[in-house]
Amino acid sequence: MSDIKIRVREFNFYYGQDKALKDVNIDIHRNRVLGIIGPSGCGKSTFLRSLNRMNDVILGSRYEGLIELDGQDIFGPKMDVVDIRRKIGMVFQKSNPFPKTIFENVAYGLKINGIRDKSYITGRVEESLKGAALWGEVKDRLGDSAFDLSGGQQQRLCIARALAIKPEILLMDEPASALDPTATLKIEELIQDLKKKYTIIIVTHNMQQAARISDFTAFFMLGELIEHDETGKIFTSPSKKITEDYITGRFG
């Protein structure tokens, strides 16, 4: 089994005439956390959403280049976009639990994919909630509305919901940006545990967070991937001056 889970080659992305991503080349390692950093509007989220083809829904967008998942081009004519999205789970910046019960939220992905067996669903819901470190807090109130949970719990619920369909990869777009420090810490610890089973790609504004939890760090600016390397190397001696200026905060 190759070490590289996702391979991106010469990837360009356009919103209409706007070139949002330019010649991105990167290998993403299996069972590792890749942290993506960069100033606002640099293309981080666009890149993330390209990986599970969520950008397909945006009208007027187009791409050039190659993204391979386990050696297969995700844009290939025989590839089913729904399949890709089952393999690649996504957690959004602002937690978006559905207005259903806690149980229904986690079970949603399973039901959508045609799974009807009640006991199986119940088992998977429990497994996913445990995987998201939320089970203990909600096991007695699975029938409560998801909106009754705190912000941090809601985000973990969204993670559980993503885990339920057993993806191989988890994409997280600033998952802790709306949370208080304690909740953030819980999410960060969770990510460290999750990477044993999943490949994780996380976009973050918080430099210290990227340094803390990612094994590899990629720095984007104005749509270009400026530098990517092991996190330790990036944060002690990056190769490019502009990377250094950004991570020290000298760059605005």
């Binding site: 969520m54 729904v82 207005p99 949603y108 959508i112 994919n113 919901r161």
Partner: protein, 284 residues
């Protein structure tokens, strides 16, 4: 310091005056109708047909007719309107064509109801050879209500946060699955409310049913869709202006008006209740 407050008070006063004027107008109208019409209301009035040259009796056929024609309107306008709204909001690309269509729909809701009536005569009564009947009237009213339903449904759909759709898609749902399981359930209350309001309006319209199916007197209830029918608004019109003895039937006219108003208000109330109950359900 004081000058600011003087200005503010004048502003508030003027606005308050507007509210008072509007409320007063409503109160006056309602009072007039209730006071002059309630005397006529009785069980007999509501369940008996008119008799003796329509100077006595009740308005039962008109009530039935209005119900029937509103039902047909609903059958046409509701599914078509919702379907159209779903397509426009969820599937259509935002290009010149769609924007043109949307603008046209908005404009259609401003077309005078008499124009719809004329259109209905030409299309349904004559061209499609349905003849003047409750079906033709219902279809005409349906067309008139359609822009209303579409607009209300679109608004309801727009109110569903995009994050619901994104979340479902990211879990591997197809577009239709997303709409069916994660958008529609939350848009339906709003859609229903808007639709029922539109139907309430249709129930009270006279012009569209004038040439397409309403009759001023029928000895029997419509036995099929292709029969003519009596309707409350038309009946009111007849009683108030066309009858040979207007003074004598004035109370009946007021009674009809009262029934019509009660009907419309009830439908509006029903719409609000539905929205409230469904919202409550969604919270769970």
């Amino acid at each position: 310091m004081n000058k600011k407050y003087v200005e503010q008070n004048i502003g508030f006063g003027a606005l308050g005056l507007c509210v008072v004027v509007v409320a007063l107008t409503l109160v006056v109208i309602l009072w007039d109708i209730i006071s002059k019409g309630s005397g006529v209301i009785s069980w007999a009035f509501l369940t008996r047909p008119p008799s003796n040259g329509m100077t006595e009796g009740g308005i039962f056929p008109a009530i039935v007719g209005t119900f029937l024609v509103t039902l047909i309107t609903a059958v046409l306008a509701v599914p078509l309107g919702m379907g159209c709204a779903i397509y426009l909001n969820e599937y259509a690309h935002d290009n010149r064509m769609t924007r043109l269509i949307r603008m046209s729909i908005r404009n259609l809701s401003g077309v005078p109801s008499i124009v719809y009536g004329l259109f209905g005569v030409v299309l349904f009564v004559q061209l499609m050879r349905i003849g003047t009947c409750v079906l033709a009237a219902g279809l005409t009213l349906g067309l008139m209500t359609l822009p209303w339903t579409i607009t209300a449904s679109e608004e309801a759909l727009k109110n569903v946060p995009q994050s619901f759709r994104d979340g479902a898609l990211a879990l591997g749902a197809t577009k239709w699955q997303t709409i069916r399981t994660n958008v529609l359930p939350y848009a339906v209350p709003g859609m229903l409310t808007g639709t029922i309001l539109g139907l309430a309006r249709a129930a009270g319209e006279t012009a569209p049913i004038l040439f397409t199916g309403a009759a001023f007197f029928l000895p029997f209830l419509p036995r099929s869709l292709f029969d003519q029918f009596m309707a409350l608004p038309y009946h009111l019109y007849i009683m108030a202006t066309q009858h040979h003895d207007i003074q004598a039937v004035r109370p009946i006219a007021y009674g009809t008006a009262l029934v019509l108003i009660v009907l419309v208000f009830s439908m509006n109330l029903f719409a609000v209740i539905i929205r409230y109950r469904l919202r409550r359900l969604r919270r769970e």
